[in-house]
Structures are given as structure tokens and as C-alpha cells.
Symmetry: C2
Amino acid sequence: MALRFALVIEPAASDDPRTDFDDTFRAIDPSAPALSVGELSTQRGDGIFESIGVVDGHPQETQAHLERLAHSAAICDLPAPHLEQWRRAVEIAATHAPQRGEGVVKLILSRGVEHGPAPTAWATAAAAADNTVAREQGIRVVTLDRGYGIDTPAKAPWLLLGAKTLSYAVNMAAIREAHRRGADDAVFVTSDGFVLEAPTASLIVRIDGRFVTPAPNGGILHGTTQLSLFAHLASEGFETGYATLPTRSLKDADAAWLVSSVRLAAPITAIDGMDVPVDAGLTASINRYLLSPRD
Amino acid sequence: MALRFALVIEPAASDDPRTDFDDTFRAIDPSAPALSVGELSTQRGDGIFESIGVVDGHPQETQAHLERLAHSAAICDLPAPHLEQWRRAVEIAATHAPQRGEGVVKLILSRGVEHGPAPTAWATAAAAADNTVAREQGIRVVTLDRGYGIDTPAKAPWLLLGAKTLSYAVNMAAIREAHRRGADDAVFVTSDGFVLEAPTASLIVRIDGRFVTPAPNGGILHGTTQLSLFAHLASEGFETGYATLPTRSLKDADAAWLVSSVRLAAPITAIDGMDVPVDAGLTASINRYLLSPRD
């Protein structure tokens, strides 16, 4: 959806003692030229981001997103973001998302202009796409090799595998490959046969009544929606857990979902052409939870 | 170095019959805002690029760079670039690089603005950094695991490993890791022990008098400087060749270089702390060749 709002942010040092950051923000026309061609975000995909769901004007799970932004910054040797500054940017941007229905606030922290003095940053707000079909009718996925082994991320932190960087060309290519194969989305697996995540979502499977997601051991993002949903499911008495999940175990799933901040829970109807049962009642209940105001 | 010039390009279809593309170009102030925050280059690192060396105003190896741009576009499902349009953009940009000494022209083709109608593109010109020290005194490198096996690129084209994409966060992180280890640059190797390339350069080693570079089998870029240099070396009577090069074979090198379009040939003085002999005379001769006008 077209952007409704953009806010250029002058990043504050993480120990800046100010409590009011409004003079570090500058609202701009989101379709107008705003970034120079020397931006390292655009030249090198060198920066990090977060996408925050907004429901009826309320930004969801802001704290978890800000903590992940800080985690990504640390992995990428970017200056630590001042979380109160970013929290305020989220608040402002969310007032420009739809105040009824669903929206999305996106945060971007770039390494800045090449040879420039400082990082650059901005936030945007937009209406969300209509994800009703994915939530209600489900999605077909294919597994795609992410190219590395399950033990690679821990051994090679320069691969930035646990950071949400702007270098997402591979994630976008994987979704195009899924479409070429007649599916809606992809699930990355390691070359030695373990499940990772989707290009823009976390995977949750239910096996023998237990909700399981791949352990975020450095190779995948820790999904904010997955975290929130696991807390909810646990409070409802369900068993949840993290596991090193072999790809072959997907055939044992009696339900599976991709969950993310904007599409929320999309039930998986088929993996690599093999049908997966859909628990429509539970899925509807999960999405009701995910659409309720959450901090 | 600060950009001296930027040219926004309205990409023509590859079969556009025009011969004059000058009205598809718009020169802009390179430090002024030019790109909207909705740009997929900046949001997703979703685009491709080329960096072309310019010597005394002459863009080097333009045709090879344009062919690689087209190759990257095909891998990334981007519209095929109109090579004559891009060639003209290179010509124009090169007139804004230093006309004495060294410069760089950079080409960028982005997937465009999210939900927008078309790709966006631009070219920039700048003076080159002074690379004399690297060329004359050499560089120390460390090998870093690229995380995948030698046979992965052929099996998983969605990893875009042969494309020069804007998603270069990992390449930049590898250079930072090399600096942390007290080296100047990195050489990526596969997790199963084969040599690939540097984050922004090709590796050439001389073993038993033969010049060898890792075979560009889909997992690495085919270096334009390496290509040109091999043709030159062959014309001088040297033996050159492509090989699947085990990492352990690096210890047999009696000389080694990283070669790229702007830094040109930087002799390697040490790999992982192990000294590598430097052939200073040959290196000087190679850089004289690389600084001569080449098409």
C-alpha cells in the first residue's frame, strides 16, 4: 500500500539524557525525494529495519520490536538506538496509520550516507494490505534451501544471520521462487535438513498437540509475533517450545502457521505439495488474539 | 569520496528502438534528496549495481560491466537493461569523474518504489580514493567462511550468489571482521573448503608459475578486472586458468592479488597471518596495464 506518512529521524546517542525527542523528527511527504543516492541503505543494503503491525491505531508489541532493532544494530556494528526516541517515533507514525483497521509502521536505521557523519533513520506509516484470504483460506508453502548448515550462524557471525538487515534481496527472490512453484510463500531450511523460518515470517508447527518453532539460535530472527503468540498459548494452557526441527518432521505436523507482524497467522495448507490439516477454529482464535491491542 | 555527479535514469525497455536516450536522463545534485523512502533498493537491498573504474576520464571495460549488469538482472528477475542506454549513461557520468587521475562511475538498477510502476535507476561519478598504499605495499587478508558449500549456488539460484545485488550487508560485515582481526580485507571460502572471492574483489593466485582464479560457477561474480587481466597476461605469454581451488592450496601460492575495478591489483602480503611472497615488479606492471585505457 502507498505510504501515508514518513518521519525522518536524527538518531540520538543511546545515552542521550533528553526525554523529549520531538525536535529530532521531521515529517516529510512519503512520496517525495528524501534520500540521497549516496545512502548506504540503497547502495549496500547496509542497515536494519522493523515492521510493526498497527491495529485501530495501536502499534503492536512495540517493545519487542525495539529490542530486536537494538539486537540487529549490535550484530551489524551500528550505533545502539535510543529506544525512547524510537518509541516516540513509533507513537507518532502510528497516529498516521489507519485509526480503524490495520496498518503498518516501518522503522529503518541505515549506516548513513557514504563517508557521511552519521547514520540516517526514518519511520513510515501505511495501511496494511488485506490479508483476509491468507488468514482464512491459508497458504501453500515450499521449502527452499537457505544454503548453510544449522551450525553455521554461530561460527560465522559476519553472515549477520540473526539480524533483520536491509539486505533482503534473497528473501524477496525466495518468495518469487515459491510463486514460480505454484505456492504462496517459502520456508527456508538448512542444507543439512533443519527448518529455519520464512523469508518474512516465523514458522510454528503443532506436533502431538505441542506448538513448536525453530530455536532462534543466531540463524533466524526471533519473531515478535511468535513470541507474543507463544505467551498467549501458554496462558491458555497449551504446551509451547523451541526445538531444532528436522525438515522431515514437517510431515508430522497436524497444523502449521506462518506468523508475522502484519499478515499475522496464516495457516499452512500444504508443504511442498503435501497437504497439511488446518485447524480453522484455532486459527481464527489466534488471529483474534493477534488483532487485540498488545504491548 | 563525495559524489560529484548523479544522473537519474528512466530505464528503457531492452528492445526500445531509440538510438538517442538523452531525454531519459536527468542530472541531479548528488547530495540532494533524490530517492523516496519507498525505494525497494533502500527497504530491501533489492536491486543490482556495477562500479566502473575511470582513468583520466575514460571508463574502463564498460562492455564487460554492462554485460554483468544484464546477467545480474536476469538472476534477480529484473527487466533486462537496455545496454545502449546504460552505455550512454556511463559516457555522461565519466565526463564528471576527474579527467586527470582516477575516478569511479557507479550504476544502480533498483526494483523501484514499492507498488510503483517501474524500476528506478541512476548513475553516479566520484573521484576514487587513493589506493597507492594497497597497490604498492600490499594488503593482509583473512579467510572467512561464506557459510555455504561449493555446490550450493547451482542448487539454490534464489540465493542470488552470482548476482551483484545491493544486498551487500554481509560483504561489508566481512570487511569489518577482517579489520577486527588486524587485516585489511577478507577472502570468502566455502564451508567445505574452497576459495571464492573477496567481498568486493576477485582473488588471483600464482601457483607454479600459473595464474589461477576460482571458477565463476554461479557462486561468485565473474570479475571484470580479472577477465581483462587474464587476457593481458595470456597475451604476454603467461598461463592462466580457472580452477576449483581448495583453501589449503593458498599456502602454495608464490604470489596472490585481490583485483577490482577501482583499487585495481593489490598484492596480498599475508593470508591468515601466513606471509605470501610479493612480486613487486609484476604487480607494478599489472597496475600499469590496469591504468591504461581499456574497453
